[in-house]
């Protein structure tokens, strides 16, 4: 049990150290990076299988028992997140071996990717609030360096905004953690959820809002998302793709975790705030995307818009809503990473992402047009792709909960997303080519293979939605049953109580 749970952390760490050592040797670092990504993927699939079979997996680091020591906890949501993240990291690493230039590589690009994965997996698996803060920082530190690696003009500009807002968010997170410790005297999630049930609801609400703001900045929720479209299009494509897939979703995961386990004392208030900001997030994101004329900027704004759907499922706090949220996160990580990677392939021939200067791609690369349409239609929610199931779930959950206004927004935003995706398709693929020469050289297999794999996963998630749906429902069931989480982490409640008294 111990190794199953710790391998998704140990593998990226060891990989990062080794990759840093061989960073100047191109072939060795490529082989090692792809091998490590594959190993991390296998380890996370094993973890998911074990968690699905045996229930919530817990390990106390250093054998210090639960309320005192730090625990790693994997429920279905955590394990599923770790697995999907490992999948997109694999795809991005393969893609990056053909994309990233030599100077970035010898500065330690691949090592940083695995440090990022290390932090992301840690954030998903930890069962301790302060430990979550530390994992966030590990992840952020790697992302800071990845974002500005290469030091292009746009990168430093985007970097300043990204770093400043994320530091502010981390400090708010730390502040909220401090206040929460002052109230409860514990930082273990399971223990906190037990203690907070009997705490003064007013101060708990204050802390809840602090957490909502801190994680809201990381997730890119309205009105806290402005750093995201300002910075995500500046680094090289694989970095954007990795950020698009992983980083904001860690914020969403943290929101899901604290707003199902800790802050459920007054859903009428806290979750209503989340619901209205979810609606605003969907709308502003997609409107921002419609105004843009650059492939990667359009995609950045769509990240924001899609975050709204996930938060909406959480804010409804119904079994169906949470299942929708979980399904949406899984679907979105795959689709969004893939769209960013394909966006890179669209840009590559002309070296520009500007829609006005692109064109005629369908004539030279018809298969790329089809490949683009798979994640694009999935993002917009066209059947039979994964996005259709995800949107259907969110909308059904919204209708069942009687949140008609938000549901209407969700449907309209789906249509606008389609419009925005068709804009890219029309401009980049369908429109007659501009005066710029259209490249006809073959794209390397290492660039195409990851996108094909992710597109296949998107189709599979839509066509064979049933097992994933069952998984999402199981995950939602666990999220809505904090007692099971507490029992898994602390042992029986009586035992935990006596441990605290002693």
């Amino acid at each position: 049990m111990g190794l199953t749970l710790t391998l998704p952390l140990l593998l990226p760490l060891v990989a990062a150290l080794l990759l840093f050592a061989v960073r100047t040797r191109r072939r060795a670092s490529h082989a090692l990076a792809v091998a490590s990504a594959t190993a991390a993927l296998v380890a996370s699939v094993v973890l998911l299988v074990v968690v699905l079979r045996d229930g919530i997996a817990v390990i106390a680091i250093g054998r210090w028992p639960a309320p005192y020591g730090i625990v790693l906890v994997a429920d279905i949501l955590s394990a599923a997140m770790v697995t999907v993240c490992a999948l997109v990291t694999w795809a991005t690493v393969v893609y990056a071996t053909a994309w990233i230039d030599r100077s970035r590589e010898s500065a330690g690009f691949f090592a940083l990717v695995f440090v990022l994965l290390f932090g992301v997996n840690g954030a998903f698996l930890t069962g301790d609030l302060f430990n979550l803060y530390v994992w966030f920082e590990v992840m952020l530190m790697a992302s800071f360096v990845l974002l500005v690696l290469g030091v292009e003009r746009g990168q430093v500009e985007g970097g300043i905004k990204y770093v400043a807002l994320n530091l502010l968010s981390s400090t708010l997170f730390l502040t909220a953690t401090g206040i929460l410790y002052g109230i409860s005297g514990t930082l273990n999630f399971a223990d906190l959820s037990r203690v907070l049930a009997s705490a003064d609801p007013r101060i708990v609400s204050v802390v809840a809002v602090l957490f909502a703001v801190a994680f809201g900045i990381k997730a890119g929720v309205f009105p806290l998302f402005f750093w995201l479209p300002a910075s995500y299009h500046t680094p090289p494509v694989p970095v954007s793709a990795l950020f698009a897939g992983l980083l904001t979703k860690v914020g969403v995961y943290a929101l899901v975790r604290v707003f199902t386990l800790l802050f459920v004392h007054d859903p009428g208030w806290t979750h209503r705030i989340l619901l209205s900001s979810a609606a605003a997030t969907m709308l502003t994101g997609v409107l921002g995307a419609l105004a843009q004329q650059d492939v990667r900027r359009i995609l950045s704004f769509h990240i924001v818009s899609q975050i709204g759907y996930m938060v909406m499922g959480l804010a409804l706090l119904t079994p169906l809503g949470l299942a929708a949220s979980v399904f949406y996160i899984v679907h979105h990580i795959v689709v969004k990473t893939n769209l960013s990677l394909i966006g890179g392939l669209v840009e590559r021939p002309g070296g520009t992402g500007s829609l006005a200067r692109l064109g005629g791609l369908f004539r030279t690369r018809p298969w790329l047009g089809v490949l683009f349409l798979v994640p694009a239609f999935s993002l917009a929610g066209i059947p039979p792709l994964s996005g259709f199931v995800a949107k259907l779930l969110v909308i059904r959950a919204g209708l069942e909960a009687g949140a008609y206004l938000v549901t209407a927004v969700a449907i309209v935003v789906g249509l606008l997303t389609l419009l925005s995706m068709l804009k890219i398709w029309n401009e980049a693929f369908w429109k007659e080519s501009t005066d710029r020469p259209v490249a006809t050289d073959r794209l390397p297999l290492r660039l195409v293979l990851p996108t094909v794999v992710l597109a296949t996963v998107t189709v599979a998630l839509g066509v064979f939605a049933e097992p994933i749906l069952r998984l999402a429902h199981q995950a939602a069931g666990q999220l809505l049953d904090p007692e099971a989480y507490r029992t898994a982490v602390l042992g029986t409640t009586a035992h935990a109580a006596s441990a605290r008294e002693g």
Binding site: V134, Y181, H233, R297, R357
Partner: protein, 141 residues
């Protein structure tokens, strides 16, 4: 004592947020430093302040006799200080690079990544290293 801490933490947060809202990039950095320090002090006082009572088990006992200082917040601060120090060093280096690239200390000049329309080619140009001894401001901009 806790009241004093509360006032100090509040003052630090207030100053920090004021500085963060200024347009100067250097003031932004100072604001982030103050904010980090405020958060650390808040963590320190979150467990309650106890003077002169280290959380040690007496030689003839088996448990710590309350009231004793809470060791956990101190461990948390230590971690937070190390992290915020590392992050700040990065932020300062980044600010230096930005200043060298854009030759400005005004956040309102950093709009190239927000503007609608085309990304200028300049956004993807690496920042050329400044030769030693050459004043970056003396190139006529």
């Amino acid at each position: 004592m806790e009241l004093l801490f509360a006032i100090m933490v509040g003052t630090l947060y207030g100053c920090a947020l004021y500085l963060l809202l200024r347009r100067s990039i250097v003031k932004l950095a100072i604001g982030l430093i103050l904010l980090g320090n405020g958060a650390n002090l808040l963590l320190f006082s979150s467990g309650g302040l106890v003077r002169g009572r280290p959380p040690l088990v007496p030689p003839d006992g088996t448990v710590v006799v309350p009231p004793a200082a809470d060791p956990l917040p101190q461990a948390l601060i230590l971690t937070a200080i190390v992290i915020s120090f590392g992050v700040l060093v990065f932020a300062v280096a980044l600010i230096y690079r930005t200043h060298r690239a854009l030759r400005t200390d005004d956040l309102d000049d950093l709009v190239a990544t927000d503007r609608l329309g085309e990304v200028s080619e300049a956004a993807h140009r690496p920042i050329e290293p400044v030769a030693a001894g050459v004043d970056p401001r003396s190139d006529g901009r």
